[in-house]
């Protein structure tokens, strides 16, 4: 990594444009920012910004279908791990023949994201090592996020659907969409005769004898499917593992079993209708998802969030982080074989936090709590029998810190965790950055990159907390860093309770179900418990989102899974996956 050449953004723009005359131009559409890059200069451009300007972290890659212009666009958001705003660059290609060079050679973290863009838009990334469908099955016809693609049961392009009112005679969608007729196959396609090429590819070397180990022991390689129905995969997730004895030779994550095309649903929904859908992404930490989406839309609407609402948002999000980390630690121990005892002690505290969420937001996990320009409801006076503020103070100042100490005392020095964790799944910092790893995974490798500090959003600049890092980058450090982060979170909560104004508005303006979002694009991102959670939205000024993309940390973090597992034993795969901490609702979307 070289030092950044350009001291200011303007000077950087100057150098980029003069360096690639005619190939790099500013994006001049109203409400848009960044650069348009010619496809043939893309690799050169991205190498330059990575090596010379320090944009070493490729946060998000996604496609947009501008069907009216006959163009597909690929949008990249690159950041510096030292902090600061994004460098946004875009490539436009014709819809008929969408080919652009792959950036995997420059940013390996683009791997899964490019595959997703290929899957959803049919954009072919030349030079991609493994360009296959990732969320849809490989016999699927069509590219679902293109604007002209319609599902088998199609009602209308945008909600609200006209049939609901004023003459809303109910019909069950199942009657219109009967089983076995709810899939559109291409001409001449017989699902019974079809063989997945992707699957078939995994098996040819089964009978190949590997004598390279030189241990004088001739063994076959064997392919094993871990999952999709397996308790250690934390959901419906499959790992195709090639084994040499007990040792992992190769590992391919296979996902998409829970895919419901969240983004297509999001583009049909009105702006506010998306909010409860974000709850269902990472369903362990719905408050963070809410905040990320609210921030993305507020960047366009420029709503000013009232003070009290800002504080309550931070409180909720930090409590969510605690919930998530308690859950992650508990289930990591499960994966290590300490069956459920530590997990239940960890999620006991989570239960109490969820009680508070229920009393405030109305639901324990599907909170649907944030609104554009504020929050839905203020903290209630009472929850069940006790005073809410007393409860919160008790939790934040006494009970939670004590619970973390307890976990620390019993677990951190525990010989099982140490022997199963130390030196397992080591992730060097350079690799972590290159693969766009985020959150605890990145910071456990010693990279102090936390959005709350790197590009403070909401009111995080007011709080005193430290960005935790660990040096080892192994499973053990990923466990320890979660304890550290919970301690920092509780510190933030304490400051919130100390500084929060007692009264005042919680929402800018009146509650509105129609939101006017000016045309343009925005990328709102928050430091979610699992890592950087980003929402890329494009508005055309209408009631519905034109493009709604989720940069899901769980999805991008498992780009690394194969690399981390190679050379380890089968039992370690389970632990490594647990330490990455994924939620399949977010991975598959």
């Amino acid at each position: 990594m070289t030092e950044a050449v350009a001291p200011t953004a303007e000077a950087a723009a100057e150098t980029l444009e003069s360096r690639f005359p005619g190939s790099v131009t500013p994006d001049t559409r109203a409400g848009y920012s960044g650069y348009m890059v010619a496809p043939d200069k893309l690799i050169e451009f991205s190498t330059a910004i990575r090596d010379e300007m320090g944009y070493d972290y490729l946060s998000s890659v996604t496609g947009v279908d501008y069907i009216a212009d006959g163009k597909l666009e690929v949008v990249y958001h690159a950041y510096k791990t030292t902090g600061g705003p994004a460098l946004v660059f875009k490539v436009q290609i014709p819809r008929e023949d969408p080919v652009i060079p792959s950036l995997v050679s420059v940013y390996p973290g683009a791997d899964f994201q490019e595959r997703e863009a290929y899957d959803m838009y049919g954009i072919r990334f030349a030079g991609h090592p493994n360009l296959k469908r990732i969320l849809m099955w490989d016999g699927f016809a069509g590219y679902p996020l293109r604007k002209d693609w319609k599902e088998a049961y199609y009602e209308a392009d945008i909600k609200p659907f006209d049939s609901r009112w004023p003459g809303g005679n109910f019909y069950r969608s199942e009657e219109k969409n009967p089983f076995s007729h709810n899939v559109a196959y291409p001409e001449g396609f017989d699902p019974d005769q079809w063989v997945s090429e992707e699957e078939a590819e995994q098996y040819p070397n089964l009978n190949e004898l590997d004598v390279s180990t030189g241990r004088g022991f001739r063994t076959d390689k064997i392919v094993v499917n871990l999952g999709p129905q397996h308790p250690s995969t934390h959901g419906v997730f499959r790992m195709l593992v090639t084994l040499d004895g007990e040792t992992i030779v190769d590992l391919h994550p296979v996902m998409g079993y829970l895919h419901r095309n969240h983004e297509k649903i999001g583009e049909r929904n009105t702006w506010i209708q998306n909010m409860p859908f974000t709850d269902r992404l990472d369903y362990i930490s719905s408050m963070s998802n809410n905040l990320g989406y609210a921030l993305a839309v507020e960047k366009l609407t420029k709503a000013k969030v009232p003070e009290r609402a800002e504080y309550i948002r931070i409180l909720m999000v930090e409590l969510t982080r605690i919930c998530n980390h308690l859950w992650a630690i508990g289930f990591l121990l499960n994966d290590m074989g300490a069956f459920f005892t530590p997990a239940l002690y960890a999620i006991r505290e989570r239960e109490l936090i969820l009680d508070f969420f229920e009393a405030t937001a109305g639901s324990r996990m599907m909170c649907n709590y944030m609104r554009f320009g504020g929050i839905a409801r203020d903290i209630p006076e009472k929850m069940r029998d006790e005073n809410t503020m007393e409860f919160l103070n008790d939790m934040v100042f006494n009970r939670l810190p004590r619970a973390f100490d307890e976990l620390d005392t019993y677990l951190t020095e525990n010989e099982i965790i140490r022997s199963r964790g130390i030196g397992v799944g080591v992730l060097p910092p350079q690799q972590a950055i290159a693969y766009s790893a985020a959150g605890p995974l990145l910071r456990a490798s010693g990279v102090p990159y936390d959005l709350r500090r790197a590009e403070p959003y909401s009111i995080y600049d007011r709080f005193d907390f430290k960005v935790c890092t660990r040096e080892g980058g192994d499973v053990y450090d990923r466990y320890v860093i979660r304890i550290d982060e919970m301690r920092e979170s509780v510190k933030i909560c304490q400051q919130v309770l100390r500084d929060m104004p007692t009264g005042g508005d919680i929402l800018a303006g009146k509650p509105q179900y129609t939101v006017r979002v000016p045309a343009g694009e925005s990328y709102g991102r928050v430091e979610g418990p699992k890592g950087e959670l980003g929402f890329y939205i494009v508005s055309t000024g209408k009631a519905n989102a034109y493009r709604y993309h989720v940069r899901a940390p769980s999805f991008i973090n498992i780009t690394l899974l194969g690399e981390l597992c190679k050379g380890h034993k089968v039992a370690d795969v389970v632990v490594i996956l647990g330490s990455i901490d994924i939620v399949l609702g977010e991975t598959d979307r």
Binding site: R164, P166, S173, Q273, M275, P276, E358, S363, M383, D394
Partner: protein, 207 residues
């Protein structure tokens, strides 16, 4: 020393186990019967046994807990029921999964719409319990229910709620959400007082 972690771990469990029995002796059997004590068991003040044995024991939901929506009607003095719903359609428009279906009533003579729903369906299979319908209803006519035990044997018919099944009296709403109800009543009374004052003022001005 190997095995120390196991001993430490067992010590936590043992402490918890003993706590459960000391608490039992302290509260006698109240801890399992009295709803107030039941709440306390699963709270920061609770010690020992933390879990609640649903469905034998059940914690009361918090006031804002939301499950499925229901419609509110007022019971008049003469025993007739009057829906608060005016079939304006806002709930159907704001519903994210589009699970609300309303048929507007038309006056048989003039063919003009009457502010009352003829039919009102909610497909509970696809309702996502987000609470937007209740949040944005301008007439406080649709609210979120607490009753979450709705299992049934027939998914093709029983999961679509019609108006009869959805309607519940105001008194029910007041009983599950007393704070919200009181606040709404207060706001309504203030609004009416303001209107009355305005009327009186304009009447006085006319004189």
């Amino acid at each position: 020393m190997y095995g120390l972690g196991v001993v430490k771990g067992l010590w936590v469990t043992l402490k918890h186990f003993v706590d459960t029995y000391t608490e039992d002796v302290r509260w006698l059997s109240k801890r399992y019967i009295d709803p107030e004590k039941l709440n306390m068991r699963q709270s920061p003040k609770g010690k020992g046994l933390f879990t609640v044995q649903y469905p034998d024991e059940m914690l009361a939901p918090t006031e804002r807990f939301r499950y499925l929506p229901f419609l509110i009607y007022e019971e008049k003095a003469d025993g007739t029921k009057e829906d608060l719903c005016t079939s304006c359609g806002i709930c159907a428009k704001v519903c994210p999964p589009q699970c609300i279906w309303i048929v507007r009533t038309d006056d048989p003579v003039t063919k003009r719409p009457i502010p009352a729903p003829k039919e009102f369906y909610i497909d509970t299979d696809i309702c996502m319990n987000c609470g937007y319908c209740a949040e944005y209803c301008p007439f406080d006519a649709i609210k979120m229910d607490h009753d979450f035990e709705i299992a049934s044997y027939d998914r093709t018919t029983a999961h679509v709620y019609d108006k009869a099944k959805l309607s519940k009296p105001v008194s029910y709403y007041a009983s599950i959400r007393p704070t919200d109800y009181a606040a709404e009543e207060k706001a309504r009374a203030e609004e009416e007082a303001k209107k009355a004052a305005k009327k009186a003022a304009s009447a006085a001005a006319k004189k």
